[in-house]
Amino acid sequence: MTPVSEILMSLMDHAHQDLSLPELLCQDACRRLPISAAGIALMNDTGAIEMTVGSDERASTIEELQLSLSEGPCLDAHATGRLVIHPDLGALALELWPLYTPAVLALGVRAIFSFPLRIGGIYLGVLDLFRDAVGRLDPHELEWALHYVDAAVMVLIHLQSMDRAGPRGESTTGIEGPVELAFHGHPEVHQATGMIAVQAGVRLNEALMLLRARAFAMGRPISEVAHGVVSGQIRFT
């Protein structure tokens, strides 16, 4: 089982609790990584960060702070599409985030790691990890943080699919939970996403959902269906 599948299964195992999948992911991340809080900022349709969730109440407060102050690593990560990593927040010149830095230091945060949740041109949100101690993530910890990033991407794609559920609230794709999408090393999945977006006249994120649903319906790996799309054998019109 891949690390991402492991994470997604762990989330589904905890799914009986009255928490959303993004919240469950934040909590899971806190169990596995040397961090004290985690949060996810979700994007709305216009591309702005609108909603935040946290691993606990303190994490939610920290997450929300960036929205209410309109500055912080999460917003920078979202705007630039780049990781924002500061293992020693106190050493930062205040000019970077003059309002946010003292506020979050006062809440006990000493290091932040913000990861944009994206698939190329598909923007989903940001995953924020916080530590109460100064210090980097070592390569092994960074690797796992990135597995959580990948899992978060899949959770958010899944939630968007659920938003397009049928009238009785059932998933139109028949997929019960977030599924691992193998992107890395499969450029055809991205190419197919672009092609489907044009063929079906939809946005990239919806194109990806269509690809995913088709793969599930066919019982084939997504990379195989993507290859079919790129070679012209499978069309979405």
Binding site: G121, R136, L146, F183, G185, P187, Q191, V198
Partner: protein
């Protein structure tokens, strides 16, 4: 221009790009393009660690799906990743170490391979691969130049004049990975709109980026967000 002059020019350009607005995808693409020119046209490819335990395509003079598949399947680069050793003057057809890779590579017309692993302390950062379509024997001078080019790629990623080396590396690698995904999505969009194969779509996109002097990743995002239309791409 002699090769030594080309190499020197590449170092100068690197220094310049580090001063100005630095686009990691474009920078890596420049390195492979220069390399291919300096070695008479092999397919030069930089694979980079995705920091999740695998190597992904960062830049190639031939970013076709066939070449990507070749270099992401088990083969000489997986061995090199474990051993940390360079592979020099590998004659693909006669070297018996990787039969599946050899069959696929020969099928694409490749005859000779050279591979340099790039490390940061003990960790593998990536690999630099040359695939030739004619038999080639690189001598020590050639290898020194290739190692210098690999060092340029590494320097560009690490920019290790700054104290934030580790953070910067993560930022650069993940940014490059995501921009590559955007480039692939744009290839699909343009291929479908233009009624062409994705390889040709890439020629249009790359050509536009070069003509306008803009980074490939940024152009891809503009295409995806509808800011560059087909007429602009095709006509210029």
């Amino acid at each position: 221009m002699t090769r030594e002059q080309q190499l020197a020019a590449t170092f100068v350009d690197l220094a310049r790009s580090l001063d100005g607005e630095f686009d990691v995808l474009d920078f890596l693409q420049d390195v492979v393009t220069r390399t291919s020119e300096m070695f008479d046209g092999p397919t030069a490819t930089l694979m980079m660690s995705d920091q999740r335990g695998a190597l992904q395509l960062a830049a190639s003079t031939d970013p076709s799906n066939d070449v990507v598949r070749l270099l992401t399947s088990p083969g000489p680069h997986t061995d090199s990743a474990t051993s940390g050793a360079a592979l020099v003057n590998v004659s693909i057809a006669t070297d018996g170490r990787w039969p599946a890779f050899a069959a696929a590579a020969s099928g694409q017309g490749f005859v000779s391979l050279d591979l340099i692993p790039i490390h940061v302390r003990t960790e593998l950062l990536g690999t630099f691969t040359l695939l030739f379509r004619h038999p080639v024997v690189l001598d020590q001078t050639d290898l020194t130049i290739l190692e210098a080019l690999a060092a340029i790629a590494k320097l560009g990623l690490l920019q290790d004049r700054t104290p934030r080396q580790q953070e910067l590396l993560a930022e650069q690698l993940q940014s490059a990975l995501n921009l590559r995904a955007a480039v692939e999505q744009a290839k699909g969009v343009v291929a479908e709109r233009g009624g062409v194969a994705v390889a040709e779509a890439f020629v249009w996109i790359n050509g536009y980026a070069r003509r306008k002097g803009r980074p490939l990743g940024a152009v891809a995002l503009d295409i995806l967000e509808g800011r560059i239309g087909m007429e602009a791409l095709v006509d210029g």
